[in-house]
C-alpha cells in the first residue's frame, strides 16, 4: 500500500500511468455517455410534469455534481502537494481546475436554460444555481492566483492553500445561499425527485454521471501529462518521453 503511494509521488510513474489509462478512460467515457444519451433522449418517457424539458437533467446534474467533485479532488490534491511537498499533487490540482470550471459552466448554462420553461426566466436566483455561480468565481480565483506567480512552485502552493480555504467555505456558502433563498422566495420547483424517479429515467442519469466522471479522468490524464512535462523538463527521463 505504502509503496504504491510512494510510486504515485514519482513523476515518471504517474506520467506512464496517465498515458496508459487515457485510452481506456476515454473509451469507457464514450460508451457510458453514449448509452446515457440514448437512454435519456429516446428510452426514458417524458416527465408527467415537465414533459420533455426534464431531459436537460441528463447534462445538468452530471455537470453540477462533477463541478463539486472536481473541486474537492483539486483541493485534496493541492493539500497533498502542500503538506507532503509532493509535486504530483500540485500537478493534479493544476490539471483539474480548468476541467472543473468547464463543468461549472455546463451546470450554469443548462440550469438557466432549464429555468426558462420552468420558472419563466433564465435566472431566478435559485439557491443551487447561485452556489454554482459562486463556485465558478472560486475556480476563477484559484486559476488566476496560480497563473499570477512567475515562480510556478509558489503559484502551486498558493493555489493549493486557497483551494483548502475554499473547501471549508463551499458548505458555508451553500448553506448561506439556501438560508437566504428561503427568506425571499416561495418554494421553487424541485428539479430532481430522485427517490421517486422510475428506473427508465434513473439509469440514463447514472450512466451520464459515470460517463462524465470517466471523461474527467481522461481529460485529467491528458492535462496531467502536460503538467508533468512542464514541471519536469529538467529531468533526464523526460528526454525519452518527449522522444528527441
Amino acid at each position: 500500500m505504502w509503496t504504491w503511494f510512494y510510486r504515485l509521488a514519482s513523476p515518471p510513474y504517474v506520467y506512464g500511468l496517465a498515458a496508459a489509462l487515457l485510452p481506456w478512460l476515454l473509451g469507457s467515457a464514450a460508451l457510458a455517455i453514449g448509452a446515457g444519451l440514448v437512454g435519456g433522449l429516446v428510452v426514458a418517457p417524458p416527465d408527467y410534469q415537465q414533459g420533455d424539458a426534464f431531459r436537460i437533467i441528463y447534462v445538468h446534474v452530471p455537470g453540477a455534481f462533477l463541478s463539486l467533485m472536481v473541486y474537492c479532488i483539486m483541493a485534496a490534491a493541492g493539500a497533498i502537494g502542500l503538506i507532503w511537498r509532493i509535486k504530483m499533487g500540485h500537478a493534479v490540482a493544476a490539471a483539474s481546475a480548468p476541467v472543473g470550471t468547464s463543468f461549472t459552466l455546463i451546470a450554469l448554462v443548462t440550469g438557466s436554460l432549464w429555468g426558462k420553461p420552468m420558472w419563466g426566466t433564465y435566472w431566478a436566483w435559485d439557491p443551487r444555481l447561485t452556489s454554482e455561480l459562486i463556485l465558478l468565481f472560486l475556480y476563477v480565483g484559484i486559476m488566476s492566483l496560480r497563473s499570477a506567480f512567475e515562480d510556478s512552485q509558489r503559484g502551486d502552493r498558493a493555489a493549493a492553500l486557497l483551494g483548502i480555504v475554499g473547501v471549508i467555505n463551499v458548505p458555508i456558502i451553500h448553506f448561506s445561499v439556501q438560508w437566504w433563498n428561503s427568506l425571499h422566495q416561495g418554494p421553487t420547483i424541485a428539479k430532481i425527485g430522485a427517490p421517486s424517479m422510475p428506473g427508465s429515467m434513473l439509469w440514463p442519469l447514472l450512466s451520464m454521471l459515470l460517463g462524465f466522471a470517466l471523461f474527467f479522468g481522461a481529460v485529467l490524464c491528458m492535462r496531467l501529462k502536460g503538467e508533468i512535462l512542464i514541471r519536469e523538463r529538467q529531468s533526464t527521463w523526460v528526454r525519452e518521453a518527449v522522444g528527441s
Partner: protein, 242 residues
C-alpha cells in the same frame, strides 16, 4: 525607526513564551497603529470610499425614499465589504517589501502572532472606523435610528471576519506586483455568506423583527475565521516569503 521597533520586539520577548507572544503582539499592534495615525490618509480614504459607494446607489437608481430603505441593507453591506477590502492589499505589502516582515518572523515570534497583531490593528483602523461612521451612511439611506445598535454590531462581526479573510488574500498575493484586483477576486466570493447574513440582520433590525438568527450565524463565522484564518494567513505568508 521601523528597524529599531522590530529589534525592540525581538529583544523584549522570550521566544515560545505565551506572555512574550502577547507582548510582541502588543508591540506590533502599537507600531501598526502609530504608523497609520501618522499617515491619516490611510484612515480617511476607505471611509470616503464607503461614503462614495453608498452615494452611487441612490443617485443611480433615483428611488423614492421609502424604496431606499428596502435596499439600504444591501447597499450598506456591499459598500462596507468593498471599502474594507480596498485597504487590505497593503496589509503585509510594505513590510514585506522593506524586509521588516522577515525580520519580525526571524525575531523568534511565529508568523501567526504577527498576522494576528497586524490584522487586528488593521481592523481597528479601517473596520472599527467604518462601524463608527455607519450611522451617518445609515441616516442617508433612511435606516431608522432604532436599528443602529443591531446594524453596528452586525457590522463589527462582519468587518472583523472580512479582515481575517482579507488577511489570507493579502498574504497570498503579497509577492505579486498587481495583487489588488486579485485580492478582490479571491476574497469576495468567500465573503458572500457575510453579505447574506449581515444584510439580513440589518434588514430585520429595520423592520423590527428579531435579528438574532443571522446575528448568531455571523458570530459563528467570526469565531471560525478568528480561529482558523491566522494559521491559513501565516502559512500563506510562509509560501510568499521563502
Amino acid at each position: 525607526m521601523t528597524v529599531t521597533t522590530s529589534q525592540g520586539i525581538a529583544a523584549g520577548s522570550s521566544p515560545g513564551d505565551a506572555v512574550g507572544a502577547i507582548g510582541a503582539a502588543a508591540a506590533i499592534m502599537r507600531r501598526e497603529l502609530s504608523l497609520s495615525f501618522r499617515r491619516p490618509e490611510h484612515l480617511v480614504q476607505p471611509l470616503v470610499f464607503f461614503l462614495i459607494i453608498t452615494t452611487l446607489f441612490p443617485l443611480g437608481l433615483s428611488l423614492q425614499l421609502s424604496q431606499l430603505r428596502d435596499m439600504a441593507p444591501g447597499v450598506l453591506w456591499g459598500a462596507a465589504l468593498l471599502s474594507s477590502l480596498l485597504s487590505l492589499d497593503a496589509l503585509f505589502k510594505s513590510d514585506a517589501d522593506d524586509g521588516t516582515l522577515e525580520q519580525l518572523a526571524l525575531s523568534g515570534q511565529g508568523l501567526t502572532v504577527i498576522v494576528i497583531a497586524k490584522t487586528v490593528a488593521h481592523w481597528l483602523v479601517t473596520g472599527a472606523a467604518l462601524v463608527l461612521a455607519s450611522p451617518l451612511v445609515a441616516t442617508a439611506l433612511d435606516i431608522p435610528a432604532s436599528a443602529f445598535a443591531l446594524m453596528m454590531s452586525s457590522l463589527v462581526l462582519g468587518t472583523l471576519t472580512l479582515s481575517w479573510l482579507g488577511a489570507i488574500g493579502a498574504a497570498l498575493t503579497v509577492g505579486l506586483k498587481r495583487g489588488n484586483v486579485l485580492i478582490s477576486l479571491i476574497v469576495l466570493p468567500l465573503a458572500m455568506p457575510l453579505l447574506i447574513f449581515g444584510a439580513s440582520a440589518t434588514e430585520r433590525a429595520i423592520s423590527g423583527t428579531s435579528a438574532a438568527g443571522p446575528l448568531y450565524l455571523l458570530a459563528a463565522l467570526c469565531v471560525l475565521a478568528t480561529t482558523l484564518a491566522p494559521f491559513a494567513a501565516s502559512a500563506a505568508l510562509k509560501i510568499s516569503l521563502d
